[in-house]
Amino acid sequence: MREMAATAPVAEATGITKRFGSTVALHEASIRIEAGQTHALVGRNGAGKSTLVSVLTGLQPPDEGAVRFGGEPAPRPADRDAWRQRVACVYQKSTIIPELTVAENLFLNRHDRGRGGLISWKTVRDRARELLDTWSVDVDVRTLAKELDVERRQFVEIARALSFGARFIVLDEPTAQLDAAAINRLFARINDLQQQGVTFLFISHHLQEVYEICDTVTVFRDARHILTATVDELPRAELVAAMTGEAAAGAGAARRGPSTDAADVLKVDGASLPGAYEDVSFRIRAGEIVGLAGAASSGRIEIAETVVGLRTAARGTVEIAGSRPKPGSVPAALEAGAGFVPQDRHHQGLVPEMSIADNATLTIPERIGRAGFIDGELRDGFARSAIGKLAIKTPGPELPVSGLSGGNQQKVVMARALANDPALLVLINPTAGVDVRSKEFLLGKVEEIAESGTGVLIASDELDDLRLCDRVLVVFQGRVVAETARGWHDHQLVAAMEGVDLDA
């Protein structure tokens, strides 16, 4: 713990109530963030976290209650400059303009003027370089912002926030799109900045991260503040209980695992794709859950995408349920009996403006109609049963998926993957950006599906996803470097994914 309560809190919100129409997004909520701390804000989707962030950053005025910074009342809502000097938020959605250079993004709308009132690009670049150097962000200011990866984009956004004078920064799920190594670098950066007096409010779905880098944690549930405690004094089970409102259940009952004489539903033999993976061979039996672990760039995603025909292996074969689908063809893979949850539901998983019913049945038009015409009744019936089975929270199958929360959207993707009763289910990052409860539910569903005799391949770097696997194959730099049976320790698997040999 660092010096507490000696000075006024960096930011404090008291008695905040915010309504949108009839829904109450925040009910007399409060939060107090002490200087120099890293403060975690956790809660399930819909708990009121995002609303609290927009109140704290001045984007939405609260209906009741007050926000104070360093003991002073917050500026007027219209005074954006004053807000920017006190607080900044790095959102999941980028606020960077892709076609402009990093330098210009940093000083957008406050360019340096040279003679005659014209912009002096040299000064802009010099100042940008100076700014990034100050906070040791190693990025060339002349690169176009669209060339940056998520990690460096976040660093640039943090630097920009600091350049306005803000020393209180909200990070909205900063780790959601990062691989393990990048997360470690981000945490190192957060620690550095904390030493230099920057205060962070850290929003995350991953409790592990909260324990790793945060000093204090605040839990929100159902639009209310539930508790604030120092991380050291709050056991995990209690934290989960505070978030879900019930005592945490123990780990899922041990699965029986596949019977030894089950047939292979997936055979990958000597598959290679230059630049992604090399000489990969493995099998999955009916009813078996196999994990494909590895960092984001390890090649695990490419392997999984090859299995379902999104990519074509240069060499080697893929056999699904006894047949060899045409390589590089998704329809052929689906035909052969594969179901698929793609890496990113926003890009590949869903058509946001289409209804739940349409999205869930995209892959099976032949089952919900005849001769190319779709039978709306049949489709909605199918969707209704999927909504029931996967406990999707929606008034009905006709709602556009864009209206659902992240967890429920992912369930729709899952529903579609299961629509053709697959013999093999391939999941890539199945619980990314999903709240704790939906995650438990989805993983429970996966086990259930495996019990019914489907083989499952989970390509993920999320330990919780991998925990239910019968076997985990670790991919490092395009090769399968290790295989561990159920019952591994976290640190072993993480070390293997990072290519570190703990025994050496």
């Binding site: 606020t95 303009i97 957008l108 709308n109």
Partner: protein, 352 residues
């Protein structure tokens, strides 16, 4: 352009900057991309040189001063439209009604000032009013467009398509489908005068582009256009008053179109009821060939200028080569499509 070109210049002369980017590979790739971005800006320059050489081979008249000035003069009116459309495209909107503004703005001025008896003229205003009326009509059309697009949140494509049809209909209505002749002196001035031996319209066009290059590249206002077209939420977050900028852009575009119409009417000493019809395809094509993205936030004024210049040079070469006038239209369209395909290949990325 200025940002990227100057950036590339820095890449060349300051190796002392030391390693940049996360690793050596990304740093270098970044540098190469910057150089490439700058090349994209000058992408049409080799093509322009090639056409100049071809033109000279086809007919030695091509590179003579008279012919070059002729090219610049015939393209000056439509080039002003390209300039206007470029502004609109960069903020991720589009304005199809520019081509009908070219006809209607001077058409209204002629209608009000041409004396009774000559065609459909009303002779209500003295001739001196014709230029202010032309420009005012342009501003009014821009305000209407902006009202629909910004205030009512309608898509620019459908709004300006409707506006195009309405404006064209109004011109047909007031002119009775005929051509206005005997325009007042002040309307002819810009289209006919020579300054330093070069037509005033050429000077005007070049000066407008020079201003456009400076504004887009070196002023906060110009950069805010790119910010809005690239990511409007980010622009708002950076404190840019996006609606105000959009209003200025849309109204300015219509004003420029009215000016283009004035130049054209002056040069032809008449306002035909079909003046400007069919221009918009050439305008869009020139902008896209010149590297302006239909998705907003991308491209430079210099690129747009090279786009329209290239198209008119090709047209001139065809004429000099003795291609029958009846076939020029078909060839022109084909050439534009080929040029679009080529710019897609050289640009490397799909034009969405």
């Amino acid at each position: 352009m200025p940002e990227t070109t100057t950036a590339a210049a820095v890449t060349g002369d300051s190796p002392a900057d030391g390693p940049v980017g996360k690793g050596p590979s990304t740093g270098r790739a970044g540098g190469r991309r910057i150089a490439f971005a700058r090349l994209r800006d000058l992408a049409l320059v080799p093509a322009i040189i090639v056409i100049a050489v071809v033109g000279q081979v086809v007919n030695p008249v091509f590179l003579q001063a008279d012919n070059l000035i002729n090219i610049l003069q015939t393209m000056s009116e439509i080039a002003v439209l390209v300039l206007a459309q470029t502004l609109v495209l960069i903020v991720k909107k589009m304005d199809l009604s520019l081509e009908s503004t070219v006809g209607l703005a001077p058409g209204v001025a002629a209608w009000l000032t041409v004396p009774v008896g000559a065609g459909h003229g009303l002779g209500l205003l003295p001739g001196g009013w014709s230029v202010p009326v032309t420009l005012a009509v342009g501003v009014l059309i821009g305000v209407l467009n902006a009202l629909f697009i910004i205030r009512f949140g309608l898509h620019g494509f459908i709004v300006t398509l409707g506006m195009l049809i309405v404006l064209r209909g109004i011109l047909t209505g007031i002119s009775g489908g005929q051509t206005f002749f005997r325009l007042p002196e002040s309307m002819l001035y810009l289209g006919t005068t020579q300054w330093f031996g070069v037509p005033a319209s050429v000077w005007l066009c070049l000066v407008l582009f020079a201003i456009g290059i400076v504004v887009l590249g070196f002023t906060g206002f110009g950069r805010s256009l790119y910010a809005i077209g690239g990511n409007v939420d980010a622009a708002k977050a950076a404190g840019i008053r996006t609606d105000r900028v959009l209003w200025i852009v849309i109204v300015t575009a219509s004003l420029l179109a009215a000016l283009g119409g004035l130049l054209l009417s002056g040069r032809l000493a008449s306002v035909a009821s079909a003046q400007g019809n069919g221009y918009i395809f050439t305008v869009f094509a020139a902008a896209v060939i010149g590297g302006i993205s239909l998705n907003g936030g991308k491209g430079t004024m210099f690129g747009a200028f090279t786009g329209i210049l290239l198209l008119f040079m090709i047209q001139n070469v065809l004429t000099l080569g003795g291609v029958p006038a009846q076939w020029i239209g078909a060839l022109n369209g084909t050439i534009i499509l080929i040029a679009l395909a080529l710019s897609r290949v050289t640009g490397g990325k799909a034009q969405e």
